[in-house]
Amino acid sequence: MSGPDDRSDEARQAMSYRIGVDVGGTFTDVVCVAADGTTTLAKAASTPADQSEGVIAGLAVLAGRLGLALPDLLARTERIVHGTTVATNALLERKGARVAMLTTEGHRDVIEMREGLKPERYDLRLPAAPALVPRRLRLPVRERIRPDGRVEVPLDRASLDAAIARLKAEKVEAVAICFLHSWRDDSHERATADAVRAALPGVFVTTSAEVLPQIKEFERFSTACVNAYVGPVVSRYLARLRGRLAEAGYGGPVFVILSHGGVAPVEEAARLAAGTALSGPAGGVAAGVALAQRGLGRDLITFDVGGTSTDIALVQDGEATLGRGRTVAGERIALESLDIVTLGAGGGSIGHVGAGGTLQVGPRSAGAVPGPVAYGQGGTEPAVTDANLVLGYLDADNFLGGARTLDRDGALVAFGRLGAALGIDAMAAAEGVHRLANVRMADGIRVATVRRGVDPRDFTLLAFGGAAGLHASAVARELGVTRIAVPVFAAGLSAWGMLHTDLRYEMARSEIGTGGVPDDAALRTIWAGLESEGRARVGAWFGGTVETKRAADMRYGEQVFEIAVPLEAVAWDTPGLTQRVTDAFHARHESLFTYALDGEEVVLVNARLAVIGRLPPMPAPHAAGVRAPAARLATRRARLDGAAADLPVFDFAALADGQAILGPAIVESDTTTVLLLPGDRAEMDARGWLSVTLPGEG
């Protein structure tokens, strides 16, 4: 990060910028990478009512830091990549569009029956959750297609016309068209969509096969309904953002980062709005992939600690791990998504004595308002940030670079109350909250690793977001992890990551027949169809290089669940393809579940293709130049493991490349603080991160 730009006018004229914008719950982070690799971070308060206001404000702050007028900055900007929580917030707050569903007669309750599942096993008083589309707006249409494509009941115009009349009377804003077996043949869905568009111009129309052409009606219908619910909201937001950017002088491309970690143009993000549900946390994972490419290590745990939550994901062999969708605000979105574990524990999480009498941290959060007790904005219950302050890890007078003064005495009083309820003193209570936060974060990482059969000790913990550096070392110790990296720009890493990912379009087609794996020729035909469609779509987005990656969802004959089988390494054009695809499945099954069943029938269910448009490579990071090792800034009295200790404090931004620091110590910048524990050895890496080695387990 640099301060105001002090280069010559000529040098600045020649520069071009790429800007990443990450809208969080409290702050909007804006990261700019110049042609010479210089990276600049700016922050502005988020504006939940219309996130685009905060985006423009953040860009204005950035322009100021670069010594430019906003129009000049935007005129020299090559591309803007954006992470937005508009879709997620619309779902969480139930502020989406008024949606109707047209669906196969006799099957109108698929999204309300939820496959027989209800959350919270022992909470039988939990009231039934209303479906995203109420039953009276789930309108039956007479039609029926068989799994082999045969038409059992032709599309009945009279029932369609009756449904459309209802749509008009109900003044709906969006329509999801969801027919059984449209994964096999979507002609009824398309004809219905045409009729609806003609009758109700301006209404957002989505079909289930266009969103997710895959067998299993609950997942497809639910995803289509979510898409219709958030589509109009996301479309309106992105149109406003485009408008504001245009007003401010920007005419270049705007991309949105999607749940799968790739980016797409705003038009695509509006069309497949359900795919933006993880747009917020996706940037951090993209950053992990980019740092892996820069030599941080092939296997990373991304550990993003924010105010109310912690997001954890894996980068394995340099690639982000994708999963088959997720549930957001109780609604299933079955699109290919980054496998991110979100935990309700962050800097704002409140420490309290639970109903059972034990100390707990989170999931309740102090949020931005009132915030932790130390903010002095009326908070009375101590949060994790309060504990970090009371324990001496944070500087009361220099929080966020002095933008805010923290009230340590107030926080201490709050811990006195918490301690009294447990029979311990205030400092012990603060230490307990810090320790329990570490334990919960470590458990979150166990969910993302050991519970998926992955050993975390083989990974490097990539700690970022404002608060991760304070917990990373203790969390790593809980897990036996011995390597940690904290990027210099940890607080804006998600926005930075968005700039380092490519255009991506995920495609899937169910190809299940009566079983088995199709023959060589059929396999080639299936994927050739996906290739041409995918290349056409991504080719329309930009003129660069397009790559594709094949994968399949397969299972043994009578199993219920499919597993994802990567097919990138399978030779495609020589005879014996069916056998090679089958072998790839056996091998994958064995590596996941410890056994394979040679001789058992193997079924291919979904063909998948990831279509990737490579964006121009980012410039190499700006070299800081040779400088002298930084001396300690100060010594701070802190509490470690129940005892007082005087910790040396270093300025993160002033560290020389290769400079080593031994724990215990504190390394801090305006936006992040790293706590090194005894035995830790940190070294500043020239590529832009602090590399920490922990003492090994034995």
């Binding site: 022992y122 039953r135 009498g357 334990v439």
Partner: protein, 547 residues
């Protein structure tokens, strides 16, 4: 004794919970059969050295209160002979088990030279021998017709199961490969629990780990007692009925007399009906578990489900009744029936003590399995189990019940498969699968709606169906003035134009292509008097076409 500070106690509480969760995930990843990896019909527990439940994973509520009986049965059978590395197995409902298809693996955890914990995995197996495929045999009058009995046995030592014993067990089932695969997954998960507990002990020491365990149990006991103390004092009766025993006897009563005094409860089931000839009898561990499940539903959901929270409950029953049969009686249906009736009777009685906590009845289980052939796959037969058209859940003080979420014993935890996938895989055509209007029990907060299924057989030639279940005469109970829900109504509409209602305990029903199964599932019971229902909610139900 070492006393852990409150922070260490919370830390270890988190660790124990995380360990059972991890064991559960390991089971999911490695289990072979779909009943385990799809329906998750298995449970995990950690017990302390005194066979007290310390932590459990929230999978199948009816398993949970029963697991300590399995550990105790091992202790009773082997006592001081238990050694590090031993692997124990049992399923016998008269020696620590619940019903025969549920096999339980029990592994002792030794550290610092003594037994500290037990790691326990229970899973429902796809077959366990006996008179019918899949263990549910409505014709059985003795446990020997239900399958292979295993009292506690030492399956292996030094963490290796004996190959000959495993072979003997799987040879006695119709699906030896599935049973072997699932058994190995269970042993692997139990050993994972052992390994994780050992790392906790290595870090904190045996004395502290044990003291923390005791402290955790004491805290949840205090938590449960605080809640119970807030309920009204008194003695109340509740009853629920089974339709019939399949041998002509109807209206079989489960009666609970529940006394709430101070912070304790006494649940007396002695007035329940005598034991029956068929598989509806409940083994004693299953009965105890059903009572504990009912109380767990009435406490706060966040109360830790361990030995501590069940200490305030005393359970009384009389041997020779349906809730505690003499050894040798068949019991396979008991994890659903008469478990559901036991829960309902207890909740009904306690609805008087804690009306805001009581909920309307959840649905009954009525299984159908069809075995036949598919012309698209010559030479292969298929077995299809009905999981669609689930019954509804009960209403409560907080709101209306969940539709299509199942029965008391599964409570929204059992997933039904995709209609599209079923049509692609089986010669079945789903004409209709929707909510069943009018099925919910009315109330201030109504129950959830049951499902309705119209399914046509397109089999290659004749096929055959078995049924097992209950609830065509008695619907889920209304509570506190709420109405009972509609009971189940299953009809077989023959291709030849004739039609008949299905009974709940039938074996060998012949079916022909073109026959249609019409399932109308019961709803959930209502809570509170219907006249107090918000008129807007009633209008909404009418507008939704659900009344």
């Amino acid at each position: 004794m070492t006393t852990p500070d409150p922070v260490t106690l919370s830390v270890l509480d988190n660790r124990f919970r995380a360990i059972v969760e991890e064991m559960g995930e390991a089971m999911l990843r490695t289990a072979y059969s779909q009943i385990l990896n799809s329906s998750r019909d298995f449970s995990i527990a950690l017990c302390d050295s005194q066979a007290r439940l310390l932590a459990q994973a929230d999978h199948i509520p009816i398993h949970v209160g029963a697991m300590p009986f399995a550990v105790q049965a091992v202790v009773d059978a082997f006592g001081n002979a238990v050694q590090e590395g031993d692997i124990y197995l049992l399923n016998d409902p008269y020696h620590g088990g619940s019903h025969l298809p549920d096999l339980t693996i029990i592994v002792p955890v030794f550290a610092e030279g003594r037994l500290l914990f037990w790691s326990v995995v229970r899973a429902h197996h796809t077959d366990i021998g006996g008179g019918t495929h899949g263990a549910y045999n409505p014709a059985a009058t003795e446990i020997f017709q239900e399958g292979l009995r295993l009292p506690p046995i030492l399956l292996g030592q030094n963490r290796v199961p004996r190959a000959d014993l495993v072979r003997m067990i799987v040879t006695n089932t119709r699906l030896p490969r599935e049973v072997r695969g699932d058994l190995m997954a269970m042993i692997g998960a139990a050993h994972l629990g052992e390994k994780r507990l050992l790392s906790v002990v290595a870090k904190h020491g045996a004395a502290l780990a044990e003291a923390a365990a005791a402290g955790i149990l004491a805290l949840s006991e205090a938590h449960a007692r605080r809640i119970i103390a807030s309920w009204a004092e008194g003695t109340w009766k509740g009853e629920a009925f089974l339709d019939d025993d399949g041998f002509g006897q109807q209206d079989i009563a489960i009666r609970a007399t529940v006394t709430k005094k101070g912070d304790s409860l006494i649940v007396d089931l002695s007035d329940s009906a005598p034991q029956v000839p068929s598989f509806l009898n409940s083994s004693w561990p299953n009965t105890a578990s059903a009572v504990r499940m009912a109380i767990a539903f009435l406490l706060d959901p966040e109360v830790a489900k361990n030995d501590g929270c069940f200490r305030p409950i005393e359970i009384i029953a009389r041997q020779g009744t349906i809730v505690w049969p003499h050894e040798g009686a068949p019991v396979t249906m008991c994890t659903s029936h008469c478990s559901n009736e036991i829960v309902e009777a207890v909740v009904k009685a306690l609805a008087n003590a804690c009306p805001e906590r009581a909920m309307g009845g959840w649905g009954r289980r009525f299984r159908v399995a069809i075995k036949g052939s598919d012309a698209r796959r010559p030479g292969r037969s298929f077995v299809w189990h009905l999981f669609h058209a689930r019954p509804g859940g009960g209403g409560s003080s907080k709101g209306d019940g969940w539709s299509s979420a199942g029965e008391w014993h599964s409570a929204g935890g059992l997933k039904f498969g995709s209609v599209e996938m079923a049509e692609a895989r089986f010669p079945l055509f789903f004409e209709k699968h929707e909510l069943r209007p009018g099925s919910a029990g009315d109330g201030t907060h109504r129950g959830g709606f049951g499902g309705e299924l119209v399914m046509r057989l397109e089999t290659d030639g004749a096929s055959v169906a078995n049924t097992a279940g209950d609830g065509v005469r008695y619907g889920a109970a209304g509570m506190l003035g709420g109405h009972d829900a509609a009971p189940h109504h299953y009809t077989l509409n023959r291709a030849d134009g004739t039609s008949r209602d299905l009974r709940t305990k039938e074996v060998g029903i012949p079916l022909a292509p073109g026959d249609t199964l019409h399932v109308r599932a019961g709803g959930g019971g209502g809570w509170g008097p219907p006249e107090k229902r918000d008129p807007a909610a009633r209008a909404r139900d009418a507008e939704e076409g659900l009344l």
